[in-house]
C-alpha cells in the first residue's frame, strides 16, 4: 500500500508559505549591526523547515535553494561571518525565488530559472566570501556534529554487517522460534532470554532495520519491538556506541513527561511559530511532516542544522519522537526500507507514549466552504430560534413557565453558538499587515526615501473574506503614501522634519466596525491644488467646500492624472478603485490631512459580511431593512420644513441643509396610505458623500440581520442589495442605499409631483 502524498502537498504549500512570510518578517526586522541570535536562529529554522518539507515531497529545486541559504545562515548565526545588508538583500531575494518556486509547484506558474540561478550564485558567493571555505552546494555542509551525522547515512550499508539486538514483546517461544527462522534468512540469528523472561534475538545481517521490522511485523506489533544496534563492523555505520545507547534510552523513559511536553512544542513548529528556540531544538526539521512519511533529507537536514550541542538525552528524546513518527508509517510502508532505520534504535518503546499525531490537534485546516455552510446553518438556527421566541411570547407566562425558561436557555445557547461560529472566520489583521514591511522597504529604497514602518493593532480580528479583499486597496494606499506622501529626505530636512518619514498602519475596533488607518507624516494634501485640479477636470467644486469634501475629490474617477502626481502629493492613482472596493465591502473611506504634517486615510469596515446591523422600516404591508451605518438620522418633518422647487422637487430643510426627498413608495411603485412626508418618517441617508432623505411609512426597529443573496435563485434587483429573513419567517429586502440615491437623482421620482402622479398610477393599478 502506498501513501498518496498529493493530499499532503497542500499542507506543505500552506506551511511553506507561512514560513516564508515569517522569515521575511524576521529579516526585515533584523538589526544588521547587532543581530539578535534568536532571530537568526528563527530565520534559519524557517529555511530549514522548508528544506525538510520540500525534500520530503521531492521538490528538489526548493531544497537546493534552501540548502545554500541555510549554509550561509548557519555561518552567520555561528558568527563565522558578520551579517551585512547584502546578506539581508540576498536572503530576501532567496525568499522571493522560493515563493516563485512554491507557486510553480502549487499553481503551475512559471519559474524564472535565470533568477533562481542568480540567487543561488549570489548566496554561494556570499557564503564563500566568509572566513570558512565554501562547501560545495550539492553536498551537505560541514557537519557540526559527527556523532549525529553518522546515523543518517543512507540505509544501504555498503559493506559489512550490523548486529541488531531485537527485544521481543511477551510472545510464546514458538513464535520466537518462527521469527528466528525468518530472520535467519537475513543473516545469522540467535535467540537468548532476558532476565525479565522476554526473548532477545541477536541478528547479524547486512539488511536494514526496516527489513527486520517488516519481517517481525508478521508476528508481532512493530511498535512493541525494541531494536537496538549492538555494534557495527564498519566505521562508516558507527552510530552511538552501545554503552551510550542504554543510558539514553533510560533517559527517554524517565523524561516521558518532558517528551510529551515537547510534542506540544512540536505542534507549534508545525505552524511556523518559532519564537521559542530553546524548547524545540530537537524537533525542528520534521515538525509537521513527520507523521506522513519522513524523508531521508528531512532527517539529515535536521541534524546538519543543529549546531547546538545536543546532550545525549536530548538526542534520545529526539530519536524517540522520530522513531515514533516513523513507526506510524511503518505498518503501511513496511516494504519500503525506512531510510533512517538506524536512527530508530533508541527509545523504540516510547512510540506509543508520545504519538506525534497529536501535533495536529491544536489547529485544523478546514475548507472555507465548510465554515460558510456552518455559518449559514447557524444563521438559520438563529432565525428559527427567533420564531420560537415570538410564538412563546404569546403564551401565558404562568402556565408555561418551564417552557419559557427552556426557550430562554435556548436563546442564550444560540447566541453563544453564533458568536463562536462567527469567530471561526475571524483572522488577525497581522495577516494583511505582515506583507507591508517588505513592500515599504523596497519602495523606499527605490525612491531613495527613508521610511520607518509601524503597525498598531495587528491582532485586531476581521472576517477572512474581508481580510482577503482589503489587501489590494491597502496595498494601493500604502504605496501611495510612500510614493507621494512621504517626501525625499532633503525636502523633509528643509521642512524641519526628521529625514526618516513614518508610515503607520493601524487597526482598531470601533463599535460594530473595524477602522483601518494608513497614516504618514509626509507633505499632506494641498487643498487649493486639488480644488484647482478638480475645477479644470470639470468637477463641480466650490471654495466653500469642507476639507473632507475636497479631499474626497481624489477618489473621483479620472482624477488621477500625471499632473496631479507631480503637483499635489499625487494621491489619485487608482483611488477611485480603492474607494469602489471598500464601498463594495460595505465600508467607507475618509481622509484627514494637514498640509505639511501628513495624511491619514481611514477605512471603516463592517466586522463581517454575513451579518448586518439594520434598521427595519415599513412601507405599506412590507418591511425593508436599511443598513444602519448609512443612516445619519431619522426625523418626522414638520410641514414648514418641506420645500419645493418650481412646485415639484421636494426637499426637506434639516439644520441648514436642503436634502432631496426620495419617496420609497413611488420609487418602488408600492401601495401605501402614507404619501405625505409629515405623516411618515424621513430617514437621512449618506452614501458616497451624498445625502438624501428617504421617505418611508414608519420605523419598525433596529436589529441584526443575516444577509441572504437574492441572486442565488433570482436576479439582481435595482435598489435592493439583498434579502433577509425576519423573526416571523417572512422575507424582508435590504435596501441598496447608494443605488436608491442614484435612482432618486436620475429619475424624477424624487419630486413630490412625481410622487403624486405615481400615486394616481397606483390607484389605477389597484382599481384594475
Amino acid at each position: 500500500m502506498t501513501i498518496d502524498m498529493s493530499q499532503f502537498y497542500e499542507v506543505f504549500f500552506d506551511e511553506a508559505e507561512e514560513l516564508l512570510a515569517e522569515a521575511e518578517r524576521l529579516l526585515l526586522g533584523i538589526n544588521i549591526d547587532d543581530p539578535d541570535n534568536e532571530e537568526l536562529n528563527a530565520i534559519f529554522r524557517a529555511a530549514h523547515s522548508i528544506k525538510g518539507g520540500a525534500a520530503t515531497f521531492g521538490f528538489m529545486d526548493m531544497t537546493e535553494i534552501t540548502h545554500v541559504l541555510e549554509n550561509l545562515l548557519d555561518k552567520i548565526r555561528k558568527h563565522e561571518m558578520a551579517l551585512t545588508s547584502e546578506h539581508v538583500d540576498a536572503f530576501l531575494a532567496a525568499k522571493d525565488v522560493l515563493k516563485m518556486e512554491l507557486d510553480g509547484h502549487r499553481l503551475a506558474t512559471d519559474v524564472d530559472q535565470d533568477q533562481v540561478a542568480d540567487v543561488k550564485m549570489m548566496l554561494k558567493q556570499l557564503s564563500e566570501a566568509g572566513s570558512a571555505p565554501a562547501p560545495v552546494v550539492a553536498e551537505p555542509p560541514p557537519a557540526p556534529k559527527p556523532v549525529e551525522v553518522a546515523p543518517v547515512q543512507q540505509n544501504e550499508i555498503p559493506d559489512g554487517m550490523s548486529c541488531f539486538n531485537i527485544v521481543m514483546p511477551d510472545i510464546t517461544e514458538k513464535d520466537v522460534e518462527n521469527l528466528k527462522e525468518e530472520l535467519g534468512l537475513l543473516g545469522e540469528a540467535a535467540v537468548s532470554k532476558q532476565a525479565d523472561g522476554r526473548f532477545v534475538i541477536t541478528l547479524t545481517t547486512d539488511s536494514s532495520e526496516a527489513d527486520i521490522v517488516s519481517i517481525c511485523s508478521f508476528i508481532v506489533d512493530p511498535d512493541d519491538l525494541v531494536i537496538s544496534l549492538k555494534n557495527n563492523s564498519t566505521a562508516s555505520t558507527a552510530t552511538l556506541p552501545t554503552d551510550e545507547v542504554k543510558p539514553a534510552t533510560v533517559e527517554v523513559v524517565e523524561s516521558k513527561v518532558e517528551s510529551s511536553a515537547k510534542v506540544l512544542v512540536q505542534e507549534e513548529v508545525g505552524y511556523g511559530l518559532f519564537e521559542d528556540e530553546g524548547k524545540e531544538k530537537q524537533e525542528e526539521g520534521y515538525g509537521f511532516f513527520a507523521p506522513f512519511q519522513p524523508h531521508p533529507d528531512a532527517v539529515k537536514s535536521e541534524l546538519i542544522g543543529d549546531d547546538t550541542a545536543l546532550t545525549l538525552s536530548n538526542s534520545g528524546i529526539s530519536n524517540a519522537q522520530q522513531a515514533s513518527a516513523t513507526a506510524k508509517t511503518e505498518p503501511t510502508a513496511t516494504s519500503v526500507p525506512s531510510p533512517e532505520a538506524e536512527r530508530k534504535n533508541l527509545g523504540r518503546r516510547e512510540s506509543d507514549k508520545a504519538p506525534p499525531a497529536s501535533a495536529e490537534a491544536s489547529s485544523i485546516r478546514v475548507g472555507v466552504e465548510k465554515v460558510d455552510q456552518l455559518i449559514n446553518l447557524v444563521g438559520e438556527l438563529v432565525i428559527t430560534q427567533a420564531m420560537i421566541e415570538q410564538r412563546i411570547s404569546m403564551l401565558d407566562p404562568v402556565q408555561n413557565e418551564a417552557l419559557i425558561n427552556s426557550v430562554g436557555q435556548l436563546t442564550r445557547n444560540t447566541r453563544d453558538l453564533q458568536e463562536s461560529v462567527m469567530s471561526i472566520r475571524m483572522m488577525p489583521m497581522d495577516f494583511v499587515f505582515s506583507r507591508f514591511p517588505r513592500m515599504v522597504r523596497d519602495l523606499a529604497a527605490k525612491l531613495n526615501k527613508k521610511v520607518d514602518f509601524a503597525t498598531i493593532g495587528a491582532t485586531t480580528e476581521l472576517d477572512k473574506g474581508l481580510i482577503e479583499r482589503i489587501v489590494d486597496p491597502l496595498t494601493h494606499l500604502v504605496r501611495n503614501s510612500v510614493d507621494h506622501g512621504i517626501e525625499i529626505p532633503e525636502n523633509r530636512r528643509k521642512a524641519g522634519k526628521s529625514e526618516t518619514g513614518t508610515l503607520t498602519l493601524s487597526a482598531a475596533h470601533k463599535g460594530g466596525s473595524i477602522v483601518i488607518e494608513v497614516t504618514d507624516d509626509g507633505a499632506g494634501l494641498n487643498r487649493d491644488k486639488i480644488l484647482a485640479k478638480a475645477h479644470s477636470n470639470g468637477l463641480a467644486v466650490s471654495e466653500s467646500m469642507t476639507d473632507s469634501e475636497v479631499f474626497s475629490l481624489i477618489f473621483a474617477p479620472g482624477f488621477s492624472t500625471a499632473e496631479v502626481v507631480t503637483d499635489v502629493s499625487g494621491r489619485g492613482v487608482g483611488m477611485d478603485v480603492v474607494k469602489r472596493n471598500i464601498t463594495a465591502m460595505g465600508g467607507a473611506v475618509e481622509i484627514r490631512s494637514a498640509l505639511g504634517f501628513g495624511t491619514t486615510i481611514s477605512i471603516s469596515l463592517p466586522l463581517t459580511l454575513a451579518i448586518l446591523d439594520g434598521m427595519s422600516v415599513s412601507l405599506g404591508e412590507s418591511v425593508y431593512v436599511i443598513p444602519l451605518n448609512l443612516i445619519v438620522e431619522t426625523l418626522q418633518p414638520r410641514a414648514e420644513d418641506i420645500k419645493t422647487v418650481t412646485g415639484e422637487g421636494r426637499m426637506v430643510h434639516v439644520r441648514g441643509e436642503y436634502l432631496p426627498i426620495i419617496a420609497l413608495h413611488s420609487l418602488f411603485n408600492h401601495a401605501t396610505d402614507i404619501t405625505d412626508p409629515t405623516q411618515g418618517v424621513l430617514v437621512l441617508l449618506e452614501s458616497d458623500g451624498k445625502k438624501s432623505a428617504l421617505f418611508v411609512d414608519r420605523l419598525v426597529g433596529q436589529q441584526q440581520v443575516v444577509i441572504k443573496s437574492l441572486e442565488t435563485n433570482f436576479k439582481k434587483v435595482l435598489g435592493v442589495s439583498g434579502a433577509t429573513i425576519m423573526g416571523d419567517g417572512s422575507v424582508a429586502l435590504i435596501l441598496d442605499v447608494a443605488a436608491l440615491i442614484q435612482m432618486g437623482q436620475s429619475t424624477n421620482y424624487i419630486t413630490g409631483a412625481a410622487s403624486f402622479s405615481n400615486q394616481n398610477n397606483q390607484h389605477m393599478q389597484r382599481n384594475a
Binding site: 449559514n376 444563521g379 438559520e380 432565525i383 412590507s622 420609487l667 418602488f668 411603485n669 408600492h670 441572504k708 443573496s709 437574492l710 441572486e711 442565488t712 435563485n713 433570482f714 436576479k715 439582481k716 434587483v717 435595482l718 435598489g719 435592493v720 434579502a723 429573513i725 419567517g729 417572512s730 422575507v731 424582508a732 429586502l733
Partner: protein, 166 residues
Amino acid sequence: MSTDNVITNVSSRAKSAEGEYLTFVLGAEEYGLEILKVQEIRGYDAVTQIANTPEFIKGVVNLRGKIVPIVDLRIKFNLGKVEYNEFTVVIILNLHGRVVGIVVDGVSDVIALKEEQIRDVPSLVTSIDTKYIVGLATLDQRMLILVDIEQLMTSQEMALVDAVAA
C-alpha cells in the same frame, strides 16, 4: 449554467420526451412538467413583493432559509382566476440548483408517458412561445401540454434571471 441548460434541454428534446410528468391545471387547460424538476409542492403564503418587477413575479418567499422567487403562471399565461387563498398551490422547482416556485390553479396527477403518446406541437400563436412546449399528449380525451419548464423559467421573458445569465 444557462448554456448548460440549453444544451441539456436541446439534447433531451431531440432524444425523447418520454418520462414521468406532474400534471397541473391552469384555467381549463392541463399542463405537464417533468417530475424530476419538482422539489416540492406547498401552499402560497408570506410572499414579499419586489419592486419594479413584472406583475407575474409575485415576489420572494423564505423556503427554509433560502430566498425563492415565486412566479404566477396564471398571470403570465392569462389563464384562470387569479386569487390567493389556502387552496392556492405553489410548485417548487429545482432547475439545476436554482430554486423557483410557480403558482398554478391545481396539481392533479403524476403520469408516465410513452413516446408514442406524445405528439408534436403545431405552429401556433400563443402567449408562450411554442419552443417551450415539448409536445402534446392525449390522455382519456384530454390534452396535456408538456412544457419544458427549465427553458421556460430561465428564458428572458420570464425575467427571473439576469440578462447575462439568461
